[in-house]
Symmetry: C2
Subunit: 142 residues, 2 copies
Amino acid sequence: VNVITLAVQDLERSLAFYRDGLGFATKGILAADVRDPVSGAAGALALFTLNGGLMLALYPRADMAKDAKVNDTGPNSVEFSLGYLVGSRAEVDGLLRLAVKAGGRASESPRERPWGIYSGYFSDPDGHLWEIIWNPAMPVQS
Amino acid sequence: VNVITLAVQDLERSLAFYRDGLGFATKGILAADVRDPVSGAAGALALFTLNGGLMLALYPRADMAKDAKVNDTGPNSVEFSLGYLVGSRAEVDGLLRLAVKAGGRASESPRERPWGIYSGYFSDPDGHLWEIIWNPAMPVQS
């Protein structure tokens, strides 16, 4: 996987959440002047480069539906989650606080889970789930 | 992002699709004997290691809903897509054929898109979208 594309309701709102709220580096909205005559999808998206060259893209859900030729049957948080490993319990707590301050939603406090991790979830403005994880068996650099 | 977790209806079916159909390496279903007494979520999941150490996890949607404390409002393909860059048009065509043979669904033939790529989508047994992309401006090793 080279690109994770998140479908968003409002590109500007989601860009603000990830760029201003979480501090992800980006050049902002790209390809705003491109439209696909075949599908009708617009090209405008925002791109972030994450760890290891992985790219995170934000793309309007109406355009994703057109581009992929699938129907949008309404938002649902339970399709996927993005897991981010950090180096300590305190980092889990801190990142979740940052996400909530930025406008994300946490449904409970982070906690120990019986599969050997300490973690908590937040959802972004579109309900997309992120799990911030400290796994003592998988040390990462902070 | 270290882990992309896909919510699945049937763990065995999705494991077969990714392992047997697409050829992703995995140790099969892990943590089948673990359950979280707090949320009621089971631990059973399948893990694949992708490029750059990125992990892909398959996890039952009912358990994801419990673990993240969110409601499952019904499947929807238009939440995210996973983009995979390949080295040529022929590789796009070949991977899409493989995915369809494995039980995936392609809504149209791959084609040129006006943002400089040749690509096609398939959806996995749960409707999760993958876009296989050849981008001449981003050469990758085949």
